[in-house]
């Protein structure tokens, strides 16, 4: 998949959203260039900006029409218009800054790498799932083998206890001796070999770690490139008064790095202590 396909999708999405609002401002549909020629990101951005700026500064002829339409519509529109305007200006500013700083090439490269990263992450998900299944299957096979060895040993042991308690006849003793010999020479080695095969299977299932490790490193590298690029741009573009606040959420997934954090627990004991301290 190429970057052009993606921006085509995005454009279609934008068009469909814009179409929803078209009754509100007839100007938009007139002003929006319908160029579907794949001319690259620069032109797409330019077109987007043009359409947005056309919205904010409508030609005088249609101004009254727009005003009338806007007035007759629900009060929700002005806020949405404001959002579109701001996004438009941000896109313009972002576009200019990127060009000035030379980040446009970097972003272009990164964006084209994103579908690749998606594939890689899917690959990791598949490999880890396969490995988990292999290991769980192996334990499912090995568990009964081990259980069987344990039970047979206990049964034989109990009969030997009877021998030592003089509770077995000579014939029974002979049968026990033969069975024990058979057990030691054949049954146990066979079960241990089968168990060993499953242990090997479990070991081999860990090969995903090597493969996924390599892929993860590549995706992490990509994410870092994208992050540092976007961060620099954001710092350039964002007004100083704007500060992002950490979104308080209860669904964050596993804690990746607990160092220096006091809002998370790192083990079960801390969970228990916390609950105890609260009286639960």
């Amino acid at each position: 998949m190429s970057a052009n396909n993606d921006s085509g999708d995005l454009e279609a999405l934008f068009d469909s959203i814009a179409a929803d609002f078209s009754p509100a401002i007839p100007v938009t549909t007139v002003a929006t260039p319908k160029s579907n020629v794949p001319t690259g990101d620069d032109d797409d951005l330019q077109a987007l900006f043009d359409s947005v700026s056309a919205e904010t500064q409508p030609p005088k002829v249609v101004e009254s029409v727009e005003r009338a339409a806007a007035e007759s519509l629900s009060e929700a529109w002005p806020s949405q218009e404001g959002v579109f305007n701001r996004i438009g200006h941000m896109a313009r500013a972002l576009h200019d800054t990127l060009g000035q700083l030379g980040y446009d090439k970097l972003i272009e490269k990164t964006v084209s790498a994103l579908p690749d990263a998606k594939d890689r992450l899917t690959y990791i998900a598949n490999l880890t799932e396969q490995a988990a299944c292999r290991v769980l299957n192996a334990t499912d096979i090995a568990s009964p083998l081990v259980d069987d060895m344990e039970n047979s040993s206990k049964a034989l042991g109990a009969r030997w206890d009877k021998v030592f308690a003089n509770q077995l006849s000579t014939d029974e003793f002979k049968a026990l001796a033969i069975e024990t010999r058979e057990f030691l020479n054949k049954k146990i080695p066979q079960k241990t070999q089968e168990t060993h095969a499953q242990l090997t299977e479990i070991m081999m299932a860990q090969d995903f770690q090597d493969l996924t490790g390599q892929v993860i490193k590549k995706v992490v590298g990509l994410a870092q490139e994208l992050e540092s690029g976007l961060m620099t741009v954001l710092v350039e573009v964002m007004p100083e008064t704007k500060r992002t606040e950490e979104v308080a959420s209860l669904m964050n997934g596993p804690v990746i790095n607990s160092q220096g954090r006091t809002d998370v627990v790192v083990n079960q004991k801390q969970v228990d202590d916390l609950l105890d301290s609260l009286g639960f």
Partner: protein, 130 residues
Amino acid sequence: MADPKLRILVVDDFSTMRRIVRNLLKELGFTNVDEAEDGAIALQKLQGGGFEFVVTDWNMPNMDGLTLLQTIRATPTLKHLPVLMITAEAKKENIIAAAQAGASGYIVKPFTAGTLSEKLNKIFEKMGMA
């Protein structure tokens, strides 16, 4: 030990985790286990009746574990059910939120067979099921 016939519902969106919890429960002697892949499906199964214990993850699609817990506690026919949460969510506010919502126990992933056994027994003791 509690009744080995105890009917347990294991709720997690990852089949691997459901299988692991199921295997651990089997090792602890509980074989009457059913599975659900999110809170919504779990609630359906619970409303069908017959379950005596719920082990649930937190972060799941459709209905998350906390909502499931809150719904269970708000449903007269289900509110008595012990609910043990096994989750990767490790923020203190998560643990407090779960406790306030009426969770019977809270285990953070990754966890061990020993932890599961210990928490189950603690819940059984509290419920008088031991």
